[in-house]
Structure formats: C-alpha cells, structure tokens
C-alpha cells in the first residue's frame, strides 16, 4: 500500500504538471487526521499534490457552510477527516460531525455536486497509509470528473 518515494514516482508526477490540476480542500482535525497526514509525510509516502489542508481542532468544528461555500468559491472536492468514532479527543465531536455531514450530502446533491467530490473519513494518527490512499483515490476521482460546477444539478 504505502509506496516509498522513488525517482520514478517523481517523474510520474512530472507528467501531471501540464494537465489541469484539481483543487482538493481538506478539513482535518488536529488530533487524528492532521497527525495522520503528518505521519504520511514523515514516512515519505507520496500522494497527489492536489490537496490543501486546513487544520481545525475537531471534525465537530466543521460547519456545513464551510463545505458549501468552498464549492461556491471553486474548489473541486472537499475531504473532511476526523478521529474514529469513540476516539474523539473531545469525546463526541465526530458524532456531531457525522450527523451534519448527512445534511451536507443532501445539500451538495441539490446543488448539483457529484457524490465523489465530497468524503468524510475517519483517519487516525497512525493511519498515514490510509490518508495517502484516500487522497489518491479522491484526486483520481476529481480528475475523472473534471472541474466542479455548481448549480446545474
């Protein structure tokens, strides 16, 4: 699963440069998913460079509007990452998040945003490889879907 960074992967990356690059925005909770991303980094697990992370204290901080507005502004995909259920640093913030994200999905659907553009994932501080996989999967999906456009659902 976890690839090591090699000369070939660097050249593969190169080929992408000229192409259209999707913008994948991620809201990651400080304690688990953000730390998981750091672990992927510390272990040199390469992944798609489309991702831009905004650190939040807890996935419970994520407001549906933060996702909706991001699509409005032109990002192509949004990832929300939190601690596994039961592991939340603040005990139950991720449950609050999970509840709200069902609303988000409905909202995005109504706005004509394809399903693959939004994901909620529980990624722990030790799951660097899962973070890598999720980012790669999502970025690939976004490349397949092309730029997001709102409102024509």
């Amino acid at each position: 699963m976890a690839q090591q960074l090699t000369a070939e992967t660097a050249t593969e990356e190169r080929a992408e440069v000229a192409e259209w690059r999707p913008t994948l925005l991620a809201y990651l909770c400080n304690w688990c998913s953000y730390a998981g991303a750091n672990l992927a980094g510390a272990s040199r697990m390469p992944y798609d460079a489309a991702i831009r992370v905004i650190r939040v204290p807890c996935s419970g901080r994520v407001d549906p509007l933060m996702i909706y507005k991001a699509f409005e502004r032109g990002v192509d995909g949004v990832l929300v990452g939190g601690c596994h259920l039961g592991d939340c640093h603040y005990s139950e913030g991720n449950y609050a998040c999970q509840g709200r994200m069902t609303l988000v999905k409905a909202l995005l659907k109504a706005a004509g945003i394809e399903e693959g553009r939004f994901r909620l994932e529980w990624i722990s501080a030790s799951e660097g490889s899962i973070f890598q996989a999720v980012v790669n999967e999502m970025a690939a999906k976004l490349r397949e879907l092309g730029p997001a456009r709102m409102g024509d659902g």
Binding site: A10, N30, A40, A49, V62, V75
Partner: protein, 662 residues
C-alpha cells in the same frame, strides 16, 4: 491594517530539496497584507528566531506566518517569538510545507506552487488573527473525595500527605467500604482488617482530613479550581463530639432484629448501631426507620443509658457548603442481585448466597463467627458449590462484561473454606479462569492443589431445594456430560455492578457513565483516572470492577493529579475558546446541546434594540475546551471559535481559490 510577516524555512534541505523557498518568499511578499517576507535555513534555530523577532520590530509587523514544519512541532517555539517581541503570543501561524508538502511531493514545480498556496492561506488567516488571552482563575486548594472505601481513603491520605486539605464524604456511618467486610484478601491472604484499619484510623487522625460520614453530596456547581459543593450530613441522632463510642446504647437497644447491611442481611443489628466494631468514626447512628422512639415515641433507652449524654433525638440534617479545587469520585460498586436468576431460585432458596455474603460468613466477627453454616438451619456446610460468572458475561439476565475479581475471590473462598473446615469440599463451576495479576495464577493453582478445590468447567443450568440440600444441575464440558451435586451451600460469584445511584451522581458532577453505568474515564488507556470534566477524577471500582491493588494504584494516581493541579499558581484556561455574538444568536440551543463539556449556558439577554429580553447562548470560558462543535452547529453564525473563526477559515479558502490557476 494588519502587517503580516512571512518566514519561509528551508529546514536544511528537507524543505529546500523540492520547494524553491526563495521563490515562495518572493511571491508571498506580493500577497495582501504581507509587509515582509524572508527565507532562512533553520527557522527554529536561535538565529532563526532572532531573525523573526528583529523583523517584527523593524517592519512593525502585527502578525507572523512561519512556513515550515508541522505546528505540532514548533507552534509554541514561534509563539515565543511573537511574545518576546511584544506582540500577543497567539499572533503566530504556521504553514506546514514540510510533512504535508516537501516530504510527499518530489516535483519542484508542484511542491513550490503548493507551498506558496499554503503560505498564502496562512497569511490570510494571520491577517485576521486577534490577540487571545488565557483567563486566569485562582485555585481553591482543597480536595473533595466522594466515597470512603479503600480508594477514597488512599486518595485522601496521599493528598493530605502533600499538605492539602481533604474532605471525605461517605454515605454510610463508617468509612472502610467493601474491604472492611472481608476476612482475608487475595492474592496474599492477608487479613483485611489488619491492613485496612490502620489506614482508616490514620485518615481519622490526620489533621488535614475531615471525615463527613453518613453524608452525601447534594449539589455541585462551578468548575475546576472552584467547585461549589453542597453536602448533606444526615442527622445521626448522636453528637459526634460528645460520644465516646462506649457501646452502652447499642447493647441496650431493644430493637435487635434489624437485618444488618454490613452483614449482608445474614445477621442482625440494633436500631442505634455502628456497622462494625472497628468503625471509623466509632460513633453510632440511629436508624430512624427502625427506632421505637421515632416510630412510636416509646423507649428512649439509648438516651437514658448514654454516659456522655450524646444521644440527641432532635438532631437535624446539616447542610455544609464549601468550595473545592478538585473532586475524586470513589464510590465503589454494588453487588448484583441474584433474584433475577429464576433458574437459581430467584433469591428464594436460603442456602444459595452471594459471594459477598460468604465473605461475611468467613469473617470471625461476622454473623456466624467465621463458621460456614447453612442459613436455612445453621448446620455446618460440608459440600459447597461455587458458581462463577453469576450475572457477568450474561447478555440475558446480567451484564455483558467480566467482573474481573470473582475468579480470584472464588478461589479465595475455596481456600478459606478448607482452612475453616478441613473436611469440606468445594466444587467450582467456571467458564474461564481469569487470573491476570502478580501471583494470581499461582493462587488459583494453590486452591486446586493444596486446598483440593474441584474446578468443573461449565455453567450451572438450574438449582432447587431437595430435602435439606440444594440440588445443582451443571455440566462438565471437558469431561463431557451432566453433573448433579447435592450441596449444603451454593455461593454465587455475583457480578460487580455500578452503584444504583451512579447515574444520578454522574449528572450531579457532569461526568458521563458508560453503557453499563460505571463512570466514564476520559481515555481508556491514556487518561484512565481523569474524567471529561477537568478537575474531577475517578478511582477504584467506581470506574469498573477492580481489585484492591488496582484500586489503590488508581487512588494514588488521582492524588497525583490533584496535587499536580494544586501545585500550580493559578489556572490558565485554553486561549482558543468559543464566543457567542449575542446580537446574532437566535437562542436555538443547537450549540447548547452539542457541547460535550456543558460549557454553554442559555442566559437572558436584554435586547435593547428589540426592547425585549431573550435567551441567548453564553460560553463559560473556564469549561470550554475549544473543540468548536458549537460553532459547527450554529446556524446563525453567532458562535465562533477564537483562532478558528468562520471568517478566518473562509479567508483561507478564498486565498487558495484566488491563487489556483483558472
């Protein structure tokens, strides 16, 4: 106008290898609000830090961005820079261009572009940073301990030893808890009273410890450092100051047949009583529900015989109000009531008793003076069947969990049975043996080898009275086949369960209970004695079934937590807390129900513009942990989390989208 300084770190070549740091700095300088940008080889080195501090002063910066490693590594370092150069400490933001950029993207062009975007996002946020302040609260350096079992006593002694005042609130007339009921304790078989009584007396005599027995916590307000607590001390009907514990009163009391709680209903007590001879304090209480004076206004013997004139029928409950800095909850456990087991006689067979009742039987000062006798006819019991896991590991009748101590105490019972009656035979029905402590497995083997206990692997299906015996239908799953034993006495290793009033107490304290009803720890591995409420700790069997070694270790751990808290000069709160804009708040309570720390109160707000008072949310900054769940829940945009405001997050998204080549 904010003036942001950007400092791009090369981390030797860690970052510079794939990110063109000079280019990032150069481009960053063009970003809105950025007044200065620079790059350096090691930003966290003293030279790097000095460079930042100088730049802040020289360029009159109001906030900084350090594009470097993860904030989890050096956020605090760079906060030092802002603080030292006279800015508010928290006007410092990091962009993670190492772990989340240079380490994972080898392509220089992609990595450089990403680093720039991350820097721009951080700068957009930094431009909207506002000074944050940690609020300070004084600490009231007194500890409250709820429950005076071995856990409560140990915690009290440790805290008192460190020089702080402790109040122990114990519900029953004496401290001591379950351990005071035992004859001997596994795995070393030392006499329970011999090791516990000295501790009880020490707690009584320690000038730093105040024991409030026959008392309960009635109300808890405030927060860590300043809990305001109301305690009800039930009327004892005996003046604690005057009583000498001579015993004349309970010797003369005519009400002699009341089932003793301490003896688990196997023996009687009087209406004025001390639960056991070594009780601390050695001051009786009158059980008003059974006293003739209170029932029929007759008798009054105890008052007449008391040489110290201590008996006072007019005494009333006393309410004690006090403030504490920390609370330790050590209320222990209850024992599951086996009348739920119809197939085991529904509690109606006198010779089917619980493990804790057997403990009382084994005790020399107990109702049978240490003899193992059948409750039905007082004859000595020779064939004793023990049934493990009664009410534990049972989804149908009892609890799903393993009660942890019953394998061990059953082995202890089998050993003590042989010691008391060498011709007695113990049969132990078990499913598994769980003996996972120092010397525990060896203890079980001793029970088998040296004391001849017959272990039979299988659960008992049914038992009933057969003449003067109890017929037990079990199974030997290893030997194969059903087993029928006619026993003199059956001892059920009944489950350890939460105190029946644990839920109520947890609500009083604002700490949660788990699915089974035990108090919730903050983290099962890394914070096993903390609770989700700062300043409240749990010890012993109140958290889950625990044996004495675990209980005492936990108690000392809570004491270390309390002493650690008390050794601080003052309490500093989390700087990044939630804040409600009352003008926007609709009073919908969405935040209120979401907050895991009960940090939000709905309060009345005098809305001048609308000429009315309405309910709005209000954050108690001392309780807020800064998770932001409230802010995520708020539909009106009224609730924000400082340092992670909607405004700051939107600005980051905007900065990102502006830089993305269309």
């Amino acid at each position: 106008m904010p003036r942001v300084g950007v400092f791009v770190c090369q981390c030797g070549t860690n970052i510079a290898k794939s990110v063109d740091c000079a280019k990032v700095a150069e481009e960053a300088a063009k970003l809105p609000y950025v007044a200065h940008a620079a790059t350096y080889v090691y930003m966290c080195s003293s030279a790097g830090q000095q460079m930042i501090e100088d730049a802040i002063r020289e360029h009159n910066l109001s906030a900084i961005v350090v594009s470097a490693c993860t904030p989890q590594m050096h956020q605090k370092t760079f906060e030092g820079c802002t603080e030292r150069s006279g800015l508010n400490r928290y006007m410092s933001t990091m962009a993670n261009i190492r772990e989340q950029c240079s380490y994972v993207h080898k392509d220089p062009e992609l990595a450089t572009q990403k680093a720039l975007e991350l820097t721009a996002m951080a700068a957009a946020k930094a431009a909207r940073d506002e000074p944050l302040f940690q609020s300070e609260a004084p600490i009231n350096r007194k500890a409250l301990i709820v429950g005076g079992g071995v856990a409560g006593i140990q915690a009290a002694l440790d805290i008192a030893e460190a020089g702080y005042e402790v109040t122990v609130v114990e519900k029953t007339p004496s401290i001591g808890g379950r351990m005071s009921q035992f004859d001997k304790t596994f795995p070393t078989l030392d006499c329970s009273a011999c090791i516990l009584t000295p501790k009880m007396v020490e707690a009584y005599q320690n000038p730093n410890i105040r024991l409030l027995t026959y008392a309960e916590v009635e109300q808890v307000g405030g927060f860590v450092g300043n809990f305001e607590v109301k305690i009800r001390k039930h009327a004892r009907s005996v003046d604690e100051e005057k009583c000498t514990g001579c015993g004349s009163c309970w010797e003369k009391c005519p009400q002699k047949k009341i089932p003793s709680e301490y003896d688990e209903q196997l023996g009687p007590r009087t209406a004025i009583y001390v639960p056991f001879p070594q009780a601390v304090p050695l001051v009786p209480v009158i059980d008003r529900e059974n006293c003739l004076k209170f029932l029929k206004d007759r008798c009054g013997v105890c008052q007449k015989v008391c040489p110290a004139n201590a008996v006072d029928y007019t005494q009333e409950d006393e309410i004690i109000e006090d403030t504490f800095g920390a609370i330790v909850v050590a209320t222990g456990f209850d024992v599951w009531d086996h009348s739920d087991y119809g197939e085991y006689g529904a509690g109606q067979i006198p010779d089917v008793i619980s493990g804790i009742q057997f403990e009382r039987m084994l005790n020399l000062s107990g109702p049978t003076h240490g003899k193992v006798l059948r409750p039905s006819d007082g004859k000595e019991a020779k064939t004793v069947v023990f049934v493990q896991c009664a009410g534990s590991r049972d989804d149908q009748h009892g609890y799903p969990y393993c009660s942890k101590v019953c394998c061990m105490y059953t082995a202890k019972h089998a050993i003590l049975l042989r010691e008391k009656a060498p011709d007695a035979q113990a049969y132990i029905f078990y499913i598994d043996i769980r003996a996972t402590g120092k010397g525990y497995e060896e203890f079980i083997r001793d029970a088998q080898r040296k004391y001849g206990a017959q272990y039979i692997r299988g659960r008992v299906s049914r038992m009933f009275r057969q003449g003067d015996k109890v017929r037990v239908f079990g199974v030997d799953t290893l030997g194969g086949g059903q087993v029928k034993i006619d026993a003199d006495l059956v001892v059920l290793a009944t489950a350890i369960e939460p105190r029946h009033d644990a839920k109520a107490l947890s609500q009083l304290l604002g700490i949660g209970c788990d699915n089974n009803g035990f108090f919730n720890e903050a983290h099962p591995k890394l914070a096993p004695v903390d609770t989700m409420s700062a300043g409240i700790y749990i010890a012993g069997a109140a958290q889950f079934a625990r044996d004495i070694p675990d209980t005492v270790a936990m108690a000392s751990a809570t004491a270390a937590k309390v002493v650690g808290l008390f050794s601080k000069e003052k309490l500093l709160s989390e700087p990044s807390v939630a804040n409600c804009d009352v003008n926007l708040c609709s009073g919908c309570r969405a935040c209120y129900v979401t907050c895991p720390y009960d940090a939000i109160e709905m309060t009345e707000h005098d809305d001048r513009a609308a000429r009315m008072t309405r309910m709005v949310a209000c954050v108690n900054e001392n309780l807020c942990h800064g998770c932001g769940a409230c802010s995520g829940a708020c539909r009106s945009g009224a609730m924000t989390l400082r340092a992670f405001t909607d405004n700051q997050i939107e600005a980051q998204v905007e900065a990102l989208c502006e830089l993305v080549p269309a």
